[in-house]
């Protein structure tokens, strides 16, 4: 066991020596990998920062049925009663907003007061606002109900009030898939960079490998420094990527803060929490080891 540990220590020392012997090329490799890894990190920072905002807004859709202008008196109450009766299991609440109440509500807003004063009469229709119960398949169900109610007599238009939240959710879904694709592309870039680095190292260490084999080195002994090279390069690059992403967020957050203030809101981008970042470093290290193993197996067959 001790001998095994000593061999690992020797491999680590050899790896650090090889890295130190080529400082510029080692640094360039680290930078390329770190910059590549920083891209999905920044993407995830945007996603993890926006997701809670989307979650805070209720996605429970409210359906508003606007009645036709020529709908008879009491039509809104009859529609409300029908919904309560036929869709009791799917609705959390049904209320009628009469056209006079709606106009009074608008008039109470100074911004609308002048515009409404020039109108000859009340242009607003009666409306029925239906709040859906929060359950599985809510979005699809709301769409179905809206389509069904649109066909009812005296109903002019049905509006799904939480459309924008669902659009935001769809956008986040799109973002997650995009981030996954970006991360996969970056993984390929990292694999290729480490593969090539290890290939060049193996070629330049040809003599050392031959001598090691001559004096009885096992293939594990020969490969170990290269595995360390891949693992170390990627873990250091991953830490560098975190630092780069963190630094990039500073000016972004400054710009975002002034934008958010203009909307009387507070919002900032932040990196995923430490556990996720630690996982990212471990993942990058594994990726580096995997690529190094593949490269060293292919490039030390001589």
């Amino acid at each position: 066991m001790k001998s095994w540990l000593r061999q690992h220590r020797y491999a680590l020392r050899i790896t650090l020596r090889r890295l130190a012997l080529q400082p510029f090329s080692s640094l360039a490799n680290l930078l390329v990998i770190a910059l590549a890894l920083a891209l999905p990190l920044l993407g995830s920072a945007i996603l993890v920062s926006v997701e809670p905002v989307a979650k805070q807004v209720s996605v429970t859709p409210e359906l508003t049925l606007f009645l036709a202008a020529d709908a008879p008196d009491g039509a809104a109450e009859r529609i409300a009663a029908r919904i309560r009766g036929e869709y009791a299991g799917q609705t959390a609440g049904v209320r009628v907003v009469g056209r006079d109440d709606a106009l009074a509500d608008l008039r109470s807003n100074p911004a609308w007061e002048q515009a409404l004063a020039v109108l000859p009469g009340n242009p607003l229709p009666d409306a029925v606002v239906v709040t859906m119960t929060d359950a599985e398949g809510l979005a699809a169900r709301a769409d179905d109900l809206a389509a069904a109610w649109r066909k009812w007599d005296h109903v002019d238009r049905v509006q799904l009030d939480s459309d924008w939240v669902q659009r935001l959710e769809a956008l986040l879904r799109f973002g997650r898939i995009g981030l996954f694709l970006l991360a996969a592309s970056v993984a390929v870039v990292v694999l290729a960079t480490v593969f090539n680095t290890v290939r060049l190292q193996a070629l330049s260490q040809r003599e050392e490998i031959a001598v090691a084999r001559l004096v009885g080195a096992t293939e594990s002994f020969v490969r170990r420094p290269f595995l360390y090279l891949g693992t170390l390069t990627c873990s250091i690059a991953a830490l560098g990527a975190i630092a780069i992403a963190g630094l990039a967020l500073l000016p972004l957050n400054r710009a975002l803060a002034s934008l958010a203030r203009s909307y009387d809101a507070e919002f900032s981008l932040h990196l995923p929490h430490a556990g996720i970042l630690a996982l990212a470093v471990v993942g990058a290290a594994l990726l580096g080891a995997l690529s190094a193993r593949w490269s060293v197996t292919r490039n030390t067959r001589f």
Partner: protein
């Protein structure tokens, strides 16, 4: 210790480099492998070291059948055979002592112990005081000595050397041969490939002579 039985070696579909070779070298012997250039002396030594595999026949080294040895087990056999190839294969970016410590690092020896043994090996081949020099700073003869020190540092049972005195002046060659003799005296089985007839005449008590299409064991076992 080393036994060849009907050993053939060829590369690809080419002609046999070695054909129907058979001999037995017992523990503690000092044997020369002689013959003209290109006759297969180096190949024969590489077969003993497990650096090459025979095309046919059986080879037994230190109690192990090489032709049946798995790739995984080969490195462990190599640790029992000290090899000095024609090109010394020294690492020119490392000091003399670091070169000699390499076989011990491969075995996972503690650094302190490895350092002590490497220093002793360097001392034994007469390179004391040159431990920190890189091979490029050493003469041809000293580079050969360093290669010998690296080959003997893990106390192998067998020592094989391919033309260790080629490119050396007569005096350096004589001193290198004395180093081999010293190791042989303490029981290390030694095989040296050479085509230096006067040198062999001076040192050999047994010679395996390779000629194109012929193998002669001079002074061998009946």
């Amino acid at each position: 210790m080393i036994e060849f039985q009907h050993v053939f070696k060829s590369y690809g579909r080419g002609r046999n480099i070695l054909a129907d070779i058979g001999f037995l070298v017992t523990a503690g012997e000092f044997v020369f492998v002689s013959g003209p250039s290109g006759v297969g002396k180096s190949t024969l030594l590489k077969l003993i070291a497990g650096l090459e595999s025979p095309s046919r026949g059986s080879i037994q080294v230190n109690g192990q059948r090489l032709d049946r040895l798995s790739a995984r087990a080969r490195p462990y056999l190599r640790r029992a055979v000290g090899v000095i190839l024609q090109d010394t294969h020294l690492l020119f970016d490392r000091s003399a002592i670091q070169n000699v410590m390499l076989p011990l690092a491969v075995m996972g020896l503690p650094t302190g112990q490895a350092h002590g043994r490497a220093r002793a090996a360097i001392d034994k081949v007469g390179l004391s005081g040159k431990e920190q020099l890189t091979p490029i700073e050493l003469s041809g003869g000293d580079q050969q000595r360093l290669a010998i020190a690296r080959a003997i540092v893990n106390r192998p049972a067998i020592l094989i050397a391919d033309e260790p005195t080629a490119n050396l002046d007569r005096d350096s060659a004589r001193r290198i041969m004395e180093v081999f003799r010293d190791f042989n005296r303490v029981g290390v089985t030694t095989l040296i490939a050479s085509h230096d007839e006067p040198l062999m005449a001076q040192h050999a008590n047994r010679t395996l002579r390779l000629e194109p299409g012929k193998f002669i064991d001079i002074g061998g076992h009946a």
